[in-house]
Symmetry: C2
Subunit: 396 residues, 2 copies
């Protein structure tokens, strides 16, 4: 993809010509698939209907989600990406394609999600949480270095960036037994999501070395967490209502192809993992995240610091015959690094609320307050992810 | 509903005129909604298209799932049930409706499931599992009597009764560290499922007293479990690959209306639960389950023994603003009673494999062997659920 395109790009846009992420938008009418370019969206649904794409079967972009396109795999993704780049380079296409200002569009959830899996793949996050939630035990569970721990999250409450999130009520520990009250320990978790492309049919395990062929692209995820609800409920079957009230994903799915220049070797694993989880090559991605509360950046964390890779997560997830389907969402778990201010949650940044975090407006935070706006952003070199944003509404 | 119908009923049919459960079937062509009556299926999709039902909007039964019907609620369910009963009573309808022998039909999944929640609502099961999985701790977690513990299961691998289930591979403890091998501790869990009817829109909590208005009906569920995989993976985020390879549901959704005569008071709860989980009246159902392995009944358990009710589960699930949608599946957790042979899993029946269970063919079982057929059945008085069946295939 060349940068020599006819669309004018603002300086520092997250969506230069080398990115071309896919999303779903509306300007009031039917939802359409689009590709972000600078401050604009190229209307892929219209272009395909006008015969300007021609790389995917008719109707692929008609359904108001990326699922049909996701199912087609790299054989179709690669020429489609090439063709969209050509449309942006070819001045003769200027009058043929529809370019919508992002300010005039509303982004929708990009995929219909059949199953959502949230992993727990940062060594630093898992260690920190273990120290706080299970102070009397080894912080890292015995299985942690042997498999990428994960659990199923709720799909009905996955919302797109910009959707306000209401503070949940929930049962939590009280001085004289459990109480039912609004969460007072509402948190974010900065995560990286990936969207499944072609599925595995009736459940053939996907080899770790083939796993990336089943990934359409990446996005940002805020796994909102009510720590008081979670701490009371999670033994022995895991997080449930402490997480299920809302999960926010960013609207643009950045294709793996756009991330090729940001490939890096994964974190070394010790002990060596079992054969079905082994991979070779640069299976990690150098992607930096920032998290801001009301404009103050409170965390800078790096996806390359994760212990488990996406390829290993897909291999693990399908190793027992589980069916994955196009549009399924997997998330990395909180992206936390080893240094101060590289942790991807307030739980860690404030050490369970013990160390209030100063904001630029002179206030401090232990956990989120009503009205707080949480904005995550992600950059892999000059390829941006846009934002994953949400504002906290008071409990109902 | 009167038993005076023109369809001949076999003695001891699970599907008498007072039952009228809904399912989805095919005889080779497009999937259709049907109601079971004796050995037959009344083709509701065709009857609706022929103007013989007339209680639901056009197209309600056209989609090959019960979701659209589920969404309509008791206002439509009640007259539809009445109308179908009339068609079966009215001899003039004999030549107008289509009656398909069940032997000529293949049953399909009755609903498209957006989210699947598995609860853990038997005091006896939770205590037994606690003793085996966490022998050094109190068997019942501190939260257990205060909230109906649950977790999200995988929807992509929910299959209808009759689908063979392959023994999963998975990571498990070995003498010298974890190994990746076929599960050698494959188990069933006998559960009762319920299907969500009308959803709660954008997530308004559903009061416990209103919860049953959001339940279309009940079915049987086999929550297949690989105990070796589960035991190694489940700390701290709960069951994942030990369960996700397959969950079987019975094809017929027995309406709550058919279970009215089997209403009983719920198990007394001590301590009293928080106000939002309190209900009054006969919120439990007297429903007996049997589990057979290769024809030998190994368990007889009673749904009325559950500690937490469906109404409480729905109220808890939505208490934090979680969205439930028509067609969502919830399951009770293993139905285990307090007496020998009333436990709903081999884990408990054989006490973690220590006490092999004799079968009628002279063999014994600790856990399931390849080729074993597991058949669950359920009866609420004369109202039957049919079977929830599956045969174990060898690991791939």
């Amino acid at each position: 993809v060349s940068a020599d395109i006819w669309v004018e790009l603002p300086e520092d846009t997250p969506f230069p010509a080398d990115n071309l992420p896919y999303g779903v938008f509306t300007t009031g009418g039917r939802p359409r698939v689009g590709v972000a370019i600078g401050d604009h969206i190229l209307d892929v649904t219209s272009a395909a209907e006008d015969g300007l794409v021609g790389t995917a079967p008719e109707g692929t972009f008609a359904g108001g989600s990326l699922n049909a396109f996701a199912a087609l795999g790299a054989e179709v993704w690669a020429p489609t990406r090439e063709r969209i780049a050509e449309l942006l380079q070819n001045r003769a296409a200027m009058d043929k394609v529809t370019l919508v200002p992002q300010s005039a569009a509303r982004m929708l959830l990009p995929v219909t999600i059949g199953d959502y899996v949230d992993f727990y793949s940062s060594l630093h996050h898992a260690t920190n949480v273990g120290m706080m939630f299970r102070p009397d035990q080894e912080p890292l569970p015995a299985n942690w270095r042997h498999l990428p721990i994960g659990y199923h999250g709720r799909t009905s409450t996955i919302v797109v960036s910009g959707t306000a999130v209401q503070r949940p009520w929930g049962q939590q520990r009280g001085d004289a037994g459990p109480v039912f009250a609004p969460s007072s320990r509402l948190d974010f978790e900065a995560e990286v999501g990936f969207v499944i492309g072609p599925g595995n049919g009736d459940g053939s395990p996907i080899a770790a070395g083939d796993a990336e062929e089943h990934i359409l692209g990446l996005c940002l995820v805020n796994d909102w967490s009510a720590r008081d609800i979670q701490a009371w409920e999670y033994i022995p079957l895991g997080p449930f209502l402490g997480k299920s009230f809302a999960t926010t994903m960013s609207p643009w799915i950045v294709p793996l192809a756009a991330l090729a220049p940001s490939r890096v070797p994964p974190t070394p694993q010790d002990p060596e993992v079992l054969p079905h989880l082994r991979t070779s090559g640069d299976t990690a991605i150098d992607l930096e995240l920032t998290v801001a509360i009301n404009g103050t950046v409170v965390s800078r964390c790096a996806f390359r610091d994760m212990y488990w890779t996406m390829a290993q997560q897909v291999a693990h997830l399908t190793s027992n015959g589980t069916v994955v389907r196009p549009g399924d969402l997997c998330a990395s778990g909180t992206v936390s690094g080893p240094t101060p201010r590289s942790e991807g949650s307030l739980l860690e940044l404030t050490w369970n609320g013990e160390r209030p975090l100063p904001l630029d407006d002179g206030t401090t935070r232990t956990f989120l307050e009503d009205g707080d706006g949480v904005v995550m952003a992600g950059w892999a070199g000059e390829v941006g992810f846009g934002v994953c944003a949400g504002t906290v509404l008071p409990a109902g």
